[in-house]
């Protein structure tokens, strides 16, 4: 029973992604289901903010997580996210070809053929939000061997962000908390500028990484061994699909989807390390990441919120990550995400937490760097 509970609790995103796909397929107002689910999740996350759980192990210290099952689910999310884009492309095609409205049936499921502009907007927003949430699998698999790493790249490519996989492992995990890491947000930065700076910075890092690697291997930059170029080529099928389905409107829709999904990705990076400081070259420790580990966030985001443990034991499976007394926002990702959208509110919320970090967790050298921010009136 415990094994079932531990493994089933991580299926919220797969189930809701399928529901979003079905919503797009059924059409009419169901096209907005993905947006509604996102809103409901924010409410549930806020309501469960005070429930914090530890990782579950049996008496012998073995985890209840079933590796094969969790990996099968993560791998199956790739076709699910591809299907999400295909269904949206089909709706775009219906809209641009002015398909007449009628109720049809497919395998016993009634759906509305044809779509209004209003419901098409709902479809695009739903697809963008859930493609963005799919990034949690791209992240988890980026820490895995060959085939998992490739699936991670392909999932990220659906959002035009395949560069993330390399930048995350080789840059973020090595340099977090320092200005060399574009994914770490320094104090005073807001999520909007961070989204752009982090995205471009990580792509630049991935570009430099490939350039240097290929130089070492005496290969041309313009080759299929170049993972930076290859990553963007992986995104080509999505572009072609949306151009075919909707022409200019298709390009616009894909742009919105990528903007939303990349914003969610960078918001996660933003929340994960905002304002925390590490001296260059010093070991990454638990205090260099923010934990978000209330019940709903932990289950929904497959423990990605246990950043403190993840960054010290990067090879650890998500279901084994635990509370390590890292700095903790005390609220979940959905609730915190809403706060980040209002930078003055977010800064006010984090001020006390950062003061506490400076006082009780920072080393002398880290405190000095924090003081430099304070001297510039950045908090």
């Amino acid at each position: 029973m415990k094994t079932f509970y531990v493994n089933a609790r991580y299926l919220i995103v797969p189930v809701m992604t399928i529901a979003t796909i079905l919503g797009l397929f059924i059409g009419n107002y169901f096209a907005w289901l993905g947006v509604i689910l996102f809103g409901l999740n924010t409410i549930v996350d806020t309501l469960t903010k005070n429930i914090h759980l530890r990782a579950d192990f049996d008496d012998n210290g073995n985890s209840y997580g079933i590796k094969r099952l969790q990996y099968a689910v993560m791998y199956l999310m790739l076709p699910a996210f591809i299907f999400l884009q295909v269904i949206l492309a089909w709706r775009l095609y219906q809209y641009t070809s002015v398909t007449s409205f009628e109720t049809l049936s497919f395998l016993g499921l009634s759906y509305q053929s044809g779509i209004t502009g209003f419901n098409l907007i709902g479809s695009v927003l739903s697809a963008g939000l859930w493609a963005g949430l799919g990034i949690i699998y791209g992240h988890e698999l980026s820490h895995n061997r060959k085939e998992g790493f490739l699936v991670s790249r392909l999932i990220m490519a659906l959002s035009g962000a395949s560069h993330f996989t390399y930048a995350h492992v080789y840059n973020h995990h090595l340099d977090l908390g320092h200005e060399d890491d574009p994914a770490t947000a320094p104090r005073g930065r807001n999520v909007y500028s961070h989204a752009w700076l982090s995205h471009v910075g990580q792509s630049q890092y991935s570009y430099d990484l490939e350039r240097d690697k290929l130089k070492k291997q005496k290969k041309s930059f313009f080759s299929l061994s170049n993972k930076w170029i290859l990553g963007y080529l992986y995104s080509l099928p999505s572009i072609l699909l949306f151009v075919w389905a909707g022409g200019v409107l298709g390009v616009l829709s894909l742009t919105v989807i990528w903007a939303i999904s990349n914003f969610l990705l960078e918001a996660l990076n933003f929340m994960g390390h905002y304002g925390l400081i590490r001296e260059k070259g010093k070991p990454v420790e638990h205090r260099h990441s923010w934990d978000n580990d209330n019940l709903f966030t932990s289950w929904f985001f497959i423990e990605i919120g246990r950043q403190g443990d993840h960054h010290v034991r990067g090879e650890t499976y998500f279901w084994e990550l635990d509370d390590v007394d890292a700095p903790n926002y005390g609220i979940g990702y959905f609730s915190l995400f809403v706060l980040t959208l209002f930078p003055p509110v977010f800064r006010r919320f984090t001020q006390k937490l950062l003061d506490d970090w400076d006082e009780n967790k920072a080393t002398v050298a880290e405190k000095e760097i924090a003081n430099q921010f304070k001297n510039l009136s950045i908090s």
Binding site: K146, Y166, V169, Y170, H173, K218, G314
Partner: protein, 102 residues
């Protein structure tokens, strides 16, 4: 071809040089994790294959790199058989040179 049907060992041994200490590395486990579990003070930092701190030289035996070492190790190191312990699974028993004093 018949090696396809050969039953894979559930663990392999890694002999750490120059001390000669032997550790067992289970299937699905990497060399660094096995060494740390055995109480070896193997130097490490990131554990995801990005810093190069756990670098070692494979003297004998076959390994399976879990990521491309080419981003961290240089051309000469790759040719000389260097590997990142945190991203190294074993395919046979191995002998490995590691500087534990780093």
């Amino acid at each position: 071809m018949f090696s396809l049907f050969k039953k894979k060992s559930s663990s392999y041994s890694a002999t750490l040089m120059p001390s000669g200490k032997e550790i067992r590395v289970k299937r699905g486990e990497n060399l660094l994790t096995a060494a740390l579990s055995a109480g070896v003070k193997w130097p490490y930092k990131c554990r995801v294959g990005s810093c190069g701190t756990c670098k070692c030289k494979i003297l004998d035996g076959k390994i399976s790199p879990e990521i491309d070492f080419g981003y961290v190790l240089n051309f000469d190191e790759l040719n000389d058989g260097y590997a990142l312990a945190c991203q190294t699974a074993l395919k046979t028993d191995i002998k490995v040179m590691v500087n534990l004093k780093k």
